[in-house]
Each structure stands twice: as C-alpha cells, then as structure tokens.
C-alpha cells in the first residue's frame, strides 16, 4: 500500500487541500467573530474578516511549512534512510557509483514494477525505497493535518472581542514578506559561500598566484591553470563591445531625449527595447554565421594586400572581433535606456536657461546637459561593462576556445565564461582540479561584476543627492 502511495503525485492535492483548509478556517474564524460581536456588549476590536484571516493563517502556515520541508528534503531523507540499510555488497561502491545507483533506483521507483523484474537485488532495493518514500510521505501528510488542526484550535481559542486580530494579521504579513526577502538574500549568500568554498578547495590544489598570474591555460588535457589569457580575452572582447555600445548607445539616448519628437520617440524606444529582448543565443548564431565569416574574409583580404605581411592577421573562423561587435550591439539598449533616464532627469530649467542664452541644441547638450548627466552616464556604462564581462552565449558561439594573449582581433580568443562552460560540459569528476577551476573562475567573475556594480551604484547615489 505504501508502495502505491509513493507513486501518487501529491503536490496538487496538497495544494488544493491547503487552499480548502484556508478557506474553511477563514469562514470559521469570521463566523466565530460575528457570533462574539452579536453576544458580547463590547465592540469588536477588529473586523470579523481579520479574525478569519488570523485563523486561516494559523491553520495553513504550519501545515504548509511541513509540506514544503518534505518537498525540499524528502527525497534526500529517503536516500539517507535507504543507504543506512543497504546490504554489505555495496561497500565496494565509491561515492559516484553509489550516487548513480541511487539515481537509477529513484527513477525506477516512479515506473512500473515489470521494468526491473529481471534484477532481484535491484528490485528489492527499489521496493524498499518505495516503502520508505511512501511512509515518509504519508507520515508528513498526517503530521501536516495534525499541525493544521492544532493551529486552528490555538487560533480559534484566542478569538474574543478585545483580540487585536488586525494587528496580528499585519504581523503575519510582515513576517511573510520578510521571509521572501530573506530567501533572496540567503540564496545569494549561499551561492557566494559555495563559490568561495569550492574555490578554496581549488586553491588548495593549485596555488592562487599561479592561477591569477599564470600565462598558460590548458585545463582540458593538461593541468595548466594560469588564467591571464582568459582575463585578457574577457578584457579584449568587453573593450570591443564597449567601443560599439557606448558611443552608439549614448548618442541614441541623446537623440531620443533631446532631439527626437514625440512621434519618433514612440517608435524608436520600443525598437530599442526589442533589441534588449532578443535572446542572446540569437545574437550568438548571428555572430557565428554572419559576422565571424565576414571578419575572416576581410582579414584574408587584408593579408593579401602588398604592404601587409602575409599571415599578419590570424583570420580565424571564430574570432574576438565578431563576438565583441555583436556583444556591443546587444549592449546598446542597456547603455541607451539607462542614459536616457539619466538625461531626462536633468531639469528642463537648465535647458531653458541655455536656450534662452542663445545656445543651439548641440551646445546645450554638450555644455549643460551632459556635464549634469555625466555621473549617471558613467554609472550606466559601468553596468554595461559588468554585463559584457558576464555575457556567455555570444562568446561561447563566436569567440572560440583557444586561450591566447594577442592583440589581433581576428584571432581566436577565449573568455572566463567560455571556459566555465567548456569545463563543465562533458563527463568529469566532481572534485578534480579541472571542475574546481570553474568555481574559481566563477568567483573571479562574480567579484569583477560585483565591483563594477558597486561602483556604479555609488556614482548613481552621489548623483541623486545633487538633484533631489
């Protein structure tokens, strides 16, 4: 019976049950409060609805927490219980083999029995797994029902005319909101900590100095973890991207906010937003299939010119220039929309003042509007840089995989993000230096973008103080 129970998907049922219980509890609480209002002389402190919310809150929350706990930790717990019971034969398995075996078991447990009929040991283990899983599930459900009833009883007994249900509900809402904020913060912190932790494991095998200042990177076949070529590649591609995005984005923003009429703005702004909405993989294959070959062709043509030495340009079929240019186009809307906001925030009275002095539009922009908007524009550029550093898809597709330090933009080059992808795709052991180096790279990436974002935020803050 438990085996069958283990196979029934319960999430929706649980959800529906919680909702129904909540409604019932609400009605109960409200009815009780209205009864109190009728019988007692004293005025109700809070509206009956708040009594209802209060009772519902106490009924649903404990049960929901239990069910949530089961959803998050149930399968892990089941596995641990099962592992404790495994026969001695499994002692020879190493961690990875065991994990794979258990994966098979938990997958089989969702299927029909006939699938594993041929392997008696596997069948036995799976049966046991199903029993454990079903038992845990049933236990949680019963416990959740009990908890709900207990909450209901507790809450209804507190209801009376002077009870400040409205206040209590407010506190409940505050707690719920805080919990959401806490989840966001905790997730971020968790990611950072795990990054840090794994990076430390990496640096216990590879010296930090060799990683940060080494000039040779080859993680796939040998174990050379000098990350400078990757930093350099990231830098070059970001630089090319910013050379495209900053002037174009900034001038577009100036055009939009200072020159364009209402009608032009109504057209162009949404167009730029569409540019921002294109999935990066689309940019990626555009870079790979259109721009990279064009760069290669031009480089070959340049190599053929008499005054340029043969093979001067690498003319690689994936190259830094293609990835950088396309990434620059992708970033244009970031620069333009942020700068547009900043430029619009410059008070109209300043422009009027300049116009009234007989300044032309471009003089006004250059001498009055831009100086006032400069800090915000710098901040938007910094945010765009951090975006460029972290961008992955385009460079994975169009920049290539070869870690090298070269000023030739037509050469194949690789970035931090590309290497992370390359390191983690394909089979590899979880704690080899190769895999761990991805965490170290991820940590560097995180630190870099964090710095850029923090500086940008500071600049924006200083700027705010000036105008509010």
């Amino acid at each position: 019976m438990l085996e069958t129970f283990s196979q029934i998907p319960m999430a929706w049922l649980a959800f529906a049950a919680l909702a129904a219980a909540g409604c019932a509890a609400f009605l109960a609480g409200r009815t009780i409060a209205m009864g109190i209002a009728r019988t007692s002389e004293a005025q109700l402190n809070s509206q009956p609805n708040y009594h209802g919310y209060y009772v519902a809150m106490w009924t649903v929350t404990p049960a929901a927490l239990l069910l949530l706990g089961h959803a998050l930790f149930g399968s892990g717990l089941t596995r641990s219980l099962l592992m404790a019971e495994l026969p001695d034969g499994f002692a020879s398995f190493d961690r990875l083999q065991l994990a794979q075996y258990l994966d098979r078991v938990s997958e089989a447990a969702t299927l029909d029995r006939s699938v594993w009929a041929g392997e008696p040991l596997f069948a036995a283990v799976t049966e046991r797994y199903m029993i454990l899983k079903g038992g845990l599930k049933l236990g949680t459900f019963l416990l959740a029902i009990l908890a709900g009833l207990a909450g209901l009883a507790f809450a209804t007994r507190r209801l009376q005319a002077s009870f400040r249900a409205r206040h209590e509900v407010e506190r409940g809402i505050q707690l719920a909101l805080f919990a959401c904020a806490a989840i966001a913060v905790a997730t971020t912190a968790g990611i950072v900590v795990s990054l840090l932790f794994e990076s430390i494991r990496f640096f216990s095998q590879v010296p930090l100095f060799d990683f940060l200042f080494g000039l040779h990177w080859n993680a796939q076949t040998e174990e050379h973890f000098g990350a400078i070529p990757l930093f350099f590649g990231t830098f070059i591609i970001s630089l090319i991207a910013m050379c495209v995005a900053v002037p174009v984005g900034l001038y577009a923003a100036i055009y939009l906010s200072e020159y364009a009429g209402a009608r032009a703005r109504a057209w162009i702004k949404p167009m730029l937003e569409i540019l921002a909405g294109i999935p990066t993989v689309v940019y990626g294959f555009f870079a790979l299939l259109v721009i990279a070959p064009a760069v290669r062709t031009s480089a070959v043509w340049l190599n053929g010119l008499p005054f340029i030495p043969d093979e001067f340009f690498a003319a690689s079929s994936t190259n830094a220039l293609a990835a950088g240019l396309v990434m620059g186009v992708m970033i244009i809307p970031f620069v333009s929309s942020l700068s547009d906001d900043v430029i619009n925030a410059v008070p109209q009275s300043l422009r009027d003042g300049a116009f009234a002095m007989g300044a032309t539009r471009s003089e006004t922009v250059k001498q009055v509007v831009m100086p006032a908007a400069l800090p915000g524009v710098i901040a938007s550029v910094l945010l765009a840089v951090s975006r460029a550093i972290g961008e992955t898809m385009i460079v994975v597709m169009a920049a290539g995989l070869r870690p090298q330090i070269t000023a030739d933009p037509t050469a194949e080059i690789t970035t931090i993000t590309v290497q992370i992808v390359a390191l983690l795709t394909g089979d590899s052991e979880f704690d080899s230096p190769k895999t761990l180096s991805a965490f170290a790279l991820g940590f560097v990436l995180f630190a870099l973008t964090l710095v850029f974002n923090l500086v940008a935020l500071r600049v924006v803050q200083k700027y705010r103080e000036k105008y509010d």
């Binding site: 009429g261 209402a262 008070p347 009275s349 300043l350 422009r351 009027d352 003042g353 300049a354 116009f355 009234a356 002095m357 007989g358 300044a359 032309t360 003089e363 001498q367 009055v368 100086p371 006032a372 000036k466």
Partner: protein, 267 residues
C-alpha cells in the same frame, strides 16, 4: 489699493520709443488656443509688467518675444513680433541669434552646474563676445557688479553657481543674462521663489537696469508691478484686457475685470 511709488509716477509719463511691437499674436498649443489676437507696443528703457490670473497666458506671451515657444514641441505662434522695425517671428530670423538680443530670467533660479565665473561667461563664450581672457574677466566683473552680486562672490568665482543661496542664484542668472548685453530682458516671475529681502534686492536691480534695457516682467504681486513698472498689461483668459501706464491701471482701470482683479475679487 497697492502703493505706487514715486518713480513710476514720474517716469511713466515720459514717452519712450516702442522697442517691441507685437501685432496680432495668436498662440496655439496643439489645437488649444492660449493667446487670442494680442497686439501690444512695449516701450524701450522702461519696465513693463504683465499681470493676470494663473493660466491666462502671461508666460506664453512673454516667450513669444524671444521665441522660446519654438522649443515647445506642439506650440505654434502666429503674428508679428517687431523688434526695432524687424519682424523676428519668421523663419528667416535665427532664434539662436534673437535670444542673444533678448535675455531671459526664469521663475526658478537655474544656474548651470558650472562655476560662478563660467555661468556668467557662458553667453559671451558661445557668442564670441570676448577676445581675450582680460576682456572676459571684465565682462564677468561688470555683469556681476550690475547684478549687485560682485561684492558677495568676488572671492569665490571658481565655486559652483549652484552653491549660492536662492536670491544670489537669481542675481547670478540676471548677471548671466546681461553679460551678452541684450537689448531686452524678459523676467518670468523672477522673485516668486525668493524671500522679501532677496525680492527687494532684485526689484532695486530691475529699477537700475531700466536705464539700459527694455525690461518685461511677469509677476503675481500687484505691489511689485506697481513698484517696479511704468507700464502694466492685464491679461485674462488669453486676451489682453488692459494695457497702460501703471499708475492709471492701478488707480483708474478702464475695464471692470482689471478692477476686480487688482482689488482681489478674483484671480
């Protein structure tokens, strides 16, 4: 009745030649008409004030004179604005050049985010009025002195103009406007953001500037209009109701609406 000080009483009668002759001005914002067929001859070397209830079109009419309405996207100005015999409200006249002849001071002080010196030097620079550094220094000092600000800022010309007090900022804006030696200065409620002492300073300044410039001032204060101006125009719902010597407008208005407005019965 507002007090009419002695100087306006005496100078109002001195006939001065017309500086700005506005003929049949109509202004539209989109389809909405804001100014209805206003004609007005504004005399030179004197102060003319525009009064009237909020939204009656004083600012709109004022902005016709330096064509600031051109910077408003859906605004359209019809009619002739004749300055010194030349109609400036045509495409043939460059508004940028016109505005170097017609300066403007706004309701809210709007110094540029630059140093005090650069604020005043801004106009002379873009119009190429000073050849050497010494010339520029002289222009800046002269303008600040005439705006009554020199003594207060002469030791900190390099500091940002936005760091001054509101009243000082407004005088800085006046200095900025007179630095290009305009013929006409338009002021749109220049004292409405200032306290009474700063206001008194500006009024004093306006009275001095009258000797060299044609000044048009929009104000909501009847007392101010009476104190500083020689001629007063009363606007109502986009129409010019009454225009005449300040003393006459305030003591003996010909139109009932003017009478009602200056005695505070509406507006």
């Amino acid at each position: 009745m507002p007090d009419t000080s002695s100087h306006s009483a005496t100078t109002a009668s001195i006939a001065t030649a017309t500086k700005v002759d506005c003929r049949n001005i109509n202004v539209f914002y989109g389809d909405k008409q804001a100014i209805f067929d206003i004609s007005m001859a504004i005399p030179g070397r004197s102060v003319t004030s525009f009064i009237g209830p909020s939204g009656c079109g004083k600012s709109t009419f004022l902005r016709c004179i330096n064509r600031m309405n051109d910077t408003i996207e859906n605004a359209r100005v019809e009619g002739q604005v004749i300055i010194e015999g030349e109609n400036v409200n045509t495409d043939a006249v460059d508004p940028v050049l016109l505005r170097s002849r017609v300066g403007m001071v706004f309701q809210k002080p709007n110094p540029f985010p630059k140093s005090i010196y650069d604020n005043v030097a801004y106009g002379p620079r873009i119009h190429g009025l000073a050849r050497t550094r010494e010339d520029m220094d002289a222009v800046v000092q002269n303008s600040l002195t005439r705006a009554g600000l020199w003594e207060e800022v002469k030791d900190r010309l390099g500091e940002p103009g936005t760091g001054l007090s509101g009243g000082q900022q407004q005088r800085l804006c006046i200095a900025r406007a007179i630095a290009v030696s305009p013929e006409i200065i338009l002021m749109d409620e220049p004292c409405s953001a200032l306290d009474p002492i700063a206001t008194a300073k500006i009024e004093e300044l306006i009275d001095e500037l009258r000797e060299r410039f044609c000044i048009v001032i929009v104000t909501h204060s009847m007392q101010q209009a009476a104190r500083v101006s020689q001629r007063t125009a009363f606007f109502h719902l986009g129409k010019l109701v009454e225009f005449g010597d300040t003393e006459q407008v305030f003591t003996n208005p010909t139109d009932d609406r003017t009478q009602d407005y200056i005695t505070g019965r509406f507006g």
